[in-house]
Point group: C2
Chain length 467, copies 2
């Protein structure tokens, strides 16, 4: 890699939009997790697809890594620069390019946040359902195959993306799909790029599905005497095929964290946060079916949030849970787990995990998108206490092993990044070999976000040897 | 390619399960379309994944093409053998391996037909929704990214496949996913193989989503004074977000064909075949919303099929439409088109197409999965009349060009095969270059179903030069 020459050429091309200040590089070398800061050599604020093409061409010529950056809210070190390189910040590419109300799709640049898109859509009676906890960009959400609280009904990013504009590792611009709802034309490049974590190319624009706001929406909370009762209710709900829009579980400690952080006074018991969408009769039927189930398992009556303001407050509190847990013990190292299992195994998986946490000296909240079989623990350890730090890894390893044995995955929605590389091969076995072949074919010189997603032997390491 | 040596080794390995009779080769060299017969050199009836591995290893050693074969019901020449080779018939691999009722998923071998799966699931209160018109295998449906009448509500094969067991072009066995409903672990190999038409590897087993039978199901027909009224009703239904389970349009000629072929007496007017699924109050609300819309556009009241037997008859007739159209003019060459456009353009697209057909000397029915924006014309021409044959191509070209200009695709569900290769580059542009890179990476010697899906320069042609 000829870094100095690359930076000189980038500066000539982009002027002050290329930044090499330590502060900016540091901000771009870390995400919202506790992964170590690994600074890029420079940061480019791209203004359009043309900039991305020009930057990749320069970087390719000098074998300089390119690390796409949206809002830096990932949780597995996705934006860190273990081999240096150029952080390609797409946050200025934040235009909504088209809203096709009649087709329920939109075209946006990759730097638009999910919140900005929903603000834009509000007065059109439309919404975009995928909602990770953070203020993240849609490009980043494509990169990590993100999901959130609505996935149980609307699906994850995988189900929302109709087409992507991608700049490849060789600087070619392609469009992976079109606006048709289905197509059988050739290999599914759209889904190959969704979840590829910036390792195959840079997504600069996308066409997404959006939805009409439901005729009726009801949201509320339902409390349970213990975790098992709450989980059993969730499993029965899904197995009955009730099309709940959101069904989120918070354990006691999570409720406590939310209360403290968001100034609320929820009773500190295992709690489901719920939302129902549909026609008025459909929602009424669903609510009554759910209530019957919950009662059977010892749950409370649903306490409904009446005003839209209260509903917003409810979900805002849920979305803040990662920050709320961190705030319980400032300065601690945080490890977020993200396993996802078939719904019939969710009870065993969560209760065995809760048992592990109860036996462990480290503290952790447990919460999740339980309708999908996906839950998180947010584990806290003293970074100066080697025993505690090792304990985090031990717990994580046990959870992942358990999830895989139950037919599940090490990550439901956060992605592999740096943090879960060690588990990819364990989960995918020889399929990782195919992933490597695809990576080598589409990024032959290995400049796209090297060191992420794929385990050793990584192209990133080969690049190191070439320095 | 050393064909004789390959066949000798295959015979030694598989005995009488390898068949080189002309009759069997001919049957395996054609699908249900009018594409020319192109015979393979031999047919192997595989009994399990191990057979597929052994066969691919032998074929790879001798550079002999491998063409996966399910039921031979594709419509774009997918199973033909333009470069000879081994037809790998998976129809004996027809076991349902597991039903996880509590997780709403099943594990099946690739040779199970959709009808056999549904017969197996019936007494468990479950069903599998994807339903192309023919008696096809689930492996073939994966290969072509098939859909059908339920896709408007349940999605296509793309949405149903949780994981695939694949034998790669080098004989490696991989599992692409697991039973979790979502995962952010690595590249999405599942969706790369869905729709890859046997050109990247052979799918031998799969995990599929299944669904609980709805609490209430209503099906019926609604007639319209003209095509425009029917299409406008469909567009309004989708834009209103009514979650219809099925909404299928038949033009007058299609209704006539169905009546003649299936011995029915539907009034010969543009007709929607409809089905509603859900809780009783939800279905009632939907039916009344739909009826209001249909009436606005001049549609009849819905004529409901009361008994399950009548409902089955209705959909059986719809599924037979390809055969019904062929039967109107036996011996004619058939060309089936398959464009899919954004719903807001469906009216323009269908009406302009109808106009083209009305002006044309060739006959064609028009029908479709209109809720997805997808429709077919089934065009008939005298194979000995060059003018008519050219006219089919002219009409097809016009339809595809129009669909692409409207933001759509040349194929919603039938795939590329041989028949639509000429349109892939027109639709996908430089993205085809990436498809070629992926093909070259995963099938470096080009033995997997050569000559299909990708336009020239094709690996199949390179193989020809090596003979």
């Amino acid at each position: 890699m000829n870094k100095d020459l690359a930076i000189r050429e980038l500066t000539e091309k982009f002027g002050t939009r290329l930044n090499v200040s330590a502060a900016d590089r540091e901000r771009h070398g870390q995400d919202e997790s506790s992964h170590a800061v690994m600074m890029p050599d420079a940061v480019l604020y791209a203004a359009g697809t043309g900039d991305v093409v020009a930057a990749i061409e320069i970087c390719a010529r000098h074998r300089m890594p390119v690390i796409p950056f949206g809002a830096g809210t990932s949780l597995e070190g996705h934006v860190a620069a273990p081999h240096g390189g150029l952080s390609l910040d797409l946050s200025m590419m934040n235009r909504v390019l088209a809203v096709h109300e009649n087709d329920l799709d939109v075209r946006v640049e990759a730097g638009v946040t999910r919140q900005a898109l929903n603000a834009y859509l509000r007065d059109k009676g439309l919404f975009f359902p995928v909602d990770p906890g953070s203020e993240c960009t849609l490009g980043g959400m494509v990169a990590t195959r993100a999901s959130g609280t609505n996935a149980v009904r609307y699906g994850t990013m995988r189900e929302q993306v109709l087409s992507l504009k991608v700049v490849t590792a060789t600087g070619e611009v392609i469009e992976t799909g079109n606006r048709a709802r289905k197509s059988a034309a050739g290999y599914d490049l759209t889904h190959l790029f969704v979840g590829s974590e910036g390792t195959l190319g840079v997504v600069t624009e996308m066409t997404l599905r959006v939805y009409g706001r439901p005729e009726k929406l009801m949201a509320g909370v339902c409390r349970f005497p213990n975790l098992q009762a709450a989980i059993d209710t969730v499993i029965a709900t899904i197995q009955l095929g009730l099309p709940v829009a959101r069904i989120e579980l918070l354990d006691e400690l999570s409720v406590k964290a939310v209360n403290a952080y968001s100034g609320l006074d929820h009773t500190e018991m295992p709690t489901l946060f719920l939302e129902f969408h549909g026609s008025a009769p459909a929602v009424d039927a669903e609510v009554s079916s759910f209530s019957r189930l919950a009662k059977e398992f010892g749950g409370s009556a649903i306490e409904f949030a009446d005003r839209q303001e209260d509903i917003n407050k409810l979900w805002h509190a849920r979305h803040q849970l990662y920050y709320a847990t961190r705030a319980m013990a400032p300065g601690k190292h945080v490890l977020t787990t993200d396993v996802c299992v078939p719904i019939s195994r969710l009870g065993d998986c969560m209760l065995e995990t809760r048992h592990d946490l109860d036996e462990s000296p480290v503290m952790g909240t447990m919460l999740g998108h339980v309708g999908d079989g996906n839950f998180h623990t947010i584990l806290l350890a003293d970074p100066n206490n080697n025993g505690e730090m090792r304990e985090l890894e031990r717990l994580h390893e046990r959870m992942v092993t358990r999830a895989i044995e139950m037919g599940g995955t090490c990550t439901g929605e956060h992605g592999i990044g740096l943090g879960k590389i060690k588990y990819l091969e364990k989960e995918k076995g020889p399929a990782v070999h195919l992933m490597r072949q695809i990576k080598a074919a589409l990024d032959p010189i290995g400049i796209m976000n090297p060191g992420k997603l794929l385990p050793n032997p990584s192209l990133g390491e080969e690049m190191d040897n070439q320095r």
